[in-house]
């Protein structure tokens, strides 16, 4: 029983951590689907959103706002910053580079990364800012069944709830709204989408805006967990194996990929760790991604690649 309880605890904490990886990966998938751009700047967008939120929050609280009022205003402020960023990126980077190939656009997003990193820290400061949005303690579940119960961190649970809400919201947006339908149309065929009256510039603004809002959600959770700080940008690197496993074009893939990696790395650490001398968590995701690349290059949920010769 003790062994099973331990397994459950590791599995649950892994799955919940995986949800957080999925949050970052989602932002990549959205932009890649609609414009074929691999957005290297997604991690920096998380940093920018987080800094905007936490700094607005601190400012408002010192001005005498109640905490939750400040959170609401802070979220609106951060969302506005992400909207402005989306507009600037579309207007000055992607717009002029229309019809360039993928590598050019990828390089452009590397440029955007540095501008966002620098700009965000110049505007909002470069310290580590604690973001106490969610309680940081834990629940102990099923104490009757397992000695000591199963420890579940509250932050991770809130993160999971936010991710679930996001996925439902995005699914409804894509399925039901005119703009969502237009986004799917652009993802499938640029020329045809334009011919029915869809403006690519408008759609790209929307996509970057949605990716910005997903980054804000990720920043809320990761910021609470680690504090808002520069190292949050490295999350983008953790999202890469998630994308490779789930497929670059699949929203469910990003979720499942995140869960697999989160659970996989925690379980590997707990059960294989001793054999390797620990530290598996840091490389497990990348090795798993390599295996997937060798066996199924399009990812578990990606569109099948058909090469004609």
């Amino acid at each position: 029983m003790v062994i099973f309880g331990q397994f459950l605890e590791v599995l649950i904490s892994g799955l919940l951590a995986g949800v957080l990886y999925s949050l970052v990966a989602l932002g990549f998938v959205l932009i890649y689907k609609a414009s074929g751009v691999f957005n290297f700047a997604q991690g920096s967008m998380v940093l920018l959103a987080g800094l905007a939120l936490v700094r607005a929050l601190d400012f408002l609280v010192t001005k005498g706002f109640s905490f939750w009022a400040a959170v609401v205003v802070g979220l609106v402020f951060a969302a506005t910053i992400m909207a402005i960023t989306a507009w600037l990126v579309e207007r000055f980077v992607l717009g002029p580079l229309i019809n360039q190939d993928g590598l050019t656009l990828f390089m452009a997003t590397i440029g955007i990364t540095f501008i966002l990193d620098g700009g965000a820290q110049m505007l909002f400061g470069s310290d580590v800012y604690p973001l106490p949005l969610f309680p940081s303690d834990a629940w102990f579940l099923l104490e009757n069944a397992f000695p000591g119960g199963i420890l579940v961190s509250k932050i991770d649970v809130f993160g999971g709830l936010i991710a679930a809400a996001l996925v439902v919201g995005l699914a409804l947006f894509f399925q039901r709204t005119k703009t969502g339908r237009a986004l799917r149309a652009v993802a499938d065929d640029h020329a045809a989408a334009q011919s029915v009256g869809i403006s690519l510039n408008w759609i790209w603004f929307i996509v970057w805006l949605v990716a910005g809002l997903v980054a804000l959600a990720a920043a809320m959770v990761w910021g609470t967990k680690l504090g808002v700080q520069f190292s949050i940008t490295f999350l983008a690197l953790k999202a890469l194996p998630v994308l490779i496993i789930g497929g670059f074009t699949s929203v469910p893939g990003a979720i499942v990929g995140g869960l697999l990696i989160g659970a996989g790395e925690k379980l590997a650490e707990a059960y294989l760790g001793p054999a390797f001398g620990g530290g598996i968590e840091y490389w497990f995701a990348y090795v798993l991604a390599l295996v997937v690349l060798l066996m199924r290059p399009q990812g578990l949920f990606g569109e099948r690649i058909i090469e004609r010769i």
Binding site: G169, K178, D188, D189, A191, A192, S195, V196, I198
Partner: protein, 266 residues
């Protein structure tokens, strides 16, 4: 359907005119000093051998290409640089030579996307699918179902278009263009790659669209029999230059046209 062409253009008047238009890519002149017009309510064919500049011409009208010289007037207004989605706003719809559908979506959804410009309800209403957005969605679904009936594709409406045979894909693409209720419909080789029966079906649809809805149609086609049967007037391009313009009978007997198609002994 609303009156095609709007109240300002009467049947038989010039709907779109192309004046002295030239387009070149680097050193290659794809279209060279071409002028012609499309009158409201007619079926206008653009024909010519391979590489004559037909598709380039369609792309110019549609806003995908911007000619270096010349002027285009649509509904009596001179057009400046216009992008494709703006042309769509103006009432120009089109199909593509190699079928450009939204492959991941069903036939129904593809045609529904054609209604994009006609939907105006707020995004929040659409998200919860209630109130005015629901009424609107139902209304547009209705229009789309009419088009589906018209094109006789009821059986495949829920099928993902990538799985449909080529002829059916072409039909769905026509449906998407019709869903826009355009004033001017551009068809780029609507019958390419079809068998005899499919060609006859498509010809019938094109004539019906023209007759019932009064939609002005400009089409590119290689099958001469089809062109001669369908069109009211034909413009012939060769190497980017207009070599003939007139009724099918006039064009058929034009020596320059015959030479362009068959080649001349030098």
């Amino acid at each position: 359907m609303r009156t095609p062409g709007g109240p300002d253009v009467a049947v038989g008047d010039v709907l779109l005119s192309v004046k002295a238009v030239s387009l070149s890519f680097g050193g290659v002149k794809a279209v060279n000093d071409v002028s012609f017009d499309i009158r409201k309510g007619e079926i206008r064919a653009i024909i010519g051998p391979n590489g004559a500049g037909k598709t380039s011409m369609l792309n110019i009208i549609n806003g995908f290409y911007h000619p270096q010289e010349g002027r285009i007037t649509f509904k009596g207004k001179a057009r400046s640089k216009m992008r494709p989605h703006e042309a769509a706003h103006g009432g120009i719809a089109r199909t593509f030579q190699n079928v450009a559908l939204f492959k991941g979506m069903s036939a129904l959804d593809n045609i529904m996307v054609g209604r994009t410009l006609k939907m105006h309800r707020g995004i929040l209403w659409q998200l919860v699918r209630s109130g005015p957005a629901l009424t609107e969605e139902v209304e547009h679904r209705h229009r789309v179902e009419e088009i589906i009936d018209f094109l006789q594709i009821q059986a495949i409406r829920k099928v993902q278009v990538a799985r449909l045979p080529y002829g059916m894909q072409k039909r769905v693409e026509l449906g998407r263009a019709l869903a826009m209720e355009p004033d001017l419909l551009l068809l780029d080789e609507p019958m390419a790659g079809m068998n005899m029966e499919e060609k006859e079906d498509m010809s019938r649809f094109i004539l019906d669209v023209n007759n019932h809805f009064g939609t002005t149609i400009a089409l590119i086609e290689h099958d001469m029999g089809v062109v001669m049967d369908l069109s009211d007037r034909v413009v012939v391009l060769d190497h980017g230059i207009k070599i003939a313009d007139g009724t099918p009978d006039e064009v058929k007997t034009n020596q320059v046209v015959i030479d362009a198609y068959l080649g001349v002994a030098h």
